[in-house]
Amino acid sequence: MTMTTQILAAIGAQHRDGQPLTDLLCVDCAQSLGLAGVGMTLMNDAGHQAVIGTSGAVASRLEEIQFDLGEGPSLDASRSDRTVGSDDLGAGVLLRWPAFSSAALAAGICAVTAVPLSVGGVRLGSLSMYRSSPGRLDVQQQATAHAYRGAAVVVLLHLQDRIPSVDLTRDALHPDLGAPVAHRAEIHQATGFLSVKASVGMTEAMLLLRAHAFAADRSLLDVARDVLAGRLRIHPEESEDD
């Protein structure tokens, strides 16, 4: 049995109703590699779309914040379809992910390795492994991380393949994937809303939301809700001169 098959067998045996396989995989990965947290995300070409599995609160927070900031190792791993990471998030002057790094350090995370989840060139997301002390994964750990990456792809395809065929025409997602995506629904609504109010495209509207959330030190979801409720008006800087 390969390591990937062993992982799948182990999480399959623990699987009960109500606990997604994706969470079980993250917990299992964190335990076997002795990590502070593991998070699994779903992405498309537009970027980070949902946190579909975590080993706990720390990983959950660090994945959400990457979406809010629009930067971080999970995003870069999926975008580039390569393993990315940092052995010491606190070191160096020119940081690759300045905002993410300070959030990670504040949460007690000093190192991270993010691997892409993809199938034949189709990028599906990432699996990120967070560590509480600086240092790199050794060769054995890298092999294990690679096996978890394989298992994560199998879990994703398995979930998506289990949708009844009648639903396929409706672009269905498995509930374990669809629910985390729906969690972000208001952010996308607010993007559409703001694009009309500020007369900008969707990409720029999302950037405006992000910039406001970052400057106000608030979550993107809270800002989105305020925009939709009409409690908050965001204008592009250029239009203030008009």
């Binding site: 498309n44 034949g120 189709v122 395809l157 998506q160 672009d171 609504q189 559409g192 703001l194 694009s195």
Partner: protein, 240 residues
């Protein structure tokens, strides 16, 4: 080159399915051509079952071989079909027995100039995905070694085929997942556009798109795409 070296080279050729431009038909043509060379046959062909179990002639080294295989499928008799059913090689069936088991096939075989036909299953463990036919001008017998070599070639080809199918299937699921994700985002953005343009709430926004899509027989995702690109206005959604 010794026969072992030739065999090893053929195995590598058949195992090399991890190429970018893998083509099932080319791959099976290679299998039939090499089998003809290594087993001293004169023609060969492959019959494959599709996902619904329907049989198709997918590769042949000659028109005669193709004709005979099509004939097997049409008349529902022949060594290839017996091989598919039993999942075992059907070889060295003599003229008399052949005439008795497959009368129409045997007559056609002689008509196109062959004296014997053999079939080897394409199988992996319990699943039989097809069979390879070998046709010989002489009334030849395959030795035990020949059958073993033919089966080995068929086995490695089957692994290649199933692997390619699995990869293709995974790719399709992955693309479908991406599309579902893209459309979810698009629909939410469209709701926001309508909320801001018409001062309506989120449920009303969705209802507006859904009812328009039903009346005009469009998919909601396509309506959403047009709303987001501003080619479909609130007024238009309400009117038509």
């Amino acid at each position: 080159m010794t026969s072992e070296q030739r065999l090893a080279r053929v195995f590598v050729e058949l195992a090399d399915t991890l190429v970018d431009e893998f083509d099932t038909l080319d791959f099976l043509s290679t299998l039939t051509e090499r089998s003809v060379e290594l087993l001293n046959a004169d023609a060969a062909g492959v019959i494959l079952a599709d996902a619904r179990g329907v049989l198709h002639v997918v590769a042949s080294t000659s028109d005669q071989a193709q004709l005979l295989e099509l004939l097997e499928l049409q008349n529902d008799e022949g060594p290839c079909l017996d091989c598919l059913q039993s999942a075992r090689p059907v070889v060295n069936v003599g003229g008399g027995e052949s005439q008795e088991r497959w009368p129409r096939f045997s007559t056609a075989l002689a008509e196109v100039g062959f004296a014997s036909a053999h079939a080897i299953p394409l199988r992996l463990r319990d699943s039989v995905v097809g069979a390879m036919n070998l046709f010989c001008a002489a009334d030849s017998q395959l030795s035990e070694d020949d059958v073993a070599m033919g089966q080995a070639l068929a086995d490695i080809a089957t692994i290649g085929l199933l692997q390619e199918r699995a990869v293709r299937q995974s790719g399709l699921i992955a693309e479908q997942l991406q599309t579902a994700l893209d459309n979810r985002v698009l629909i939410e953005q469209a709701k926001g556009v309508l909320m801001a343009s018409a001062e309506i709430d989120v449920d009303q926004a969705f209802r507006l798109m859904r009812e328009y899509s039903r009346r005009n027989n469009y998919a909601v995702k396509d309506v959403a795409r047009q709303v987001v690109s501003r080619t479909l206005s609130v007024e238009h959604l309400r009117r038509s």
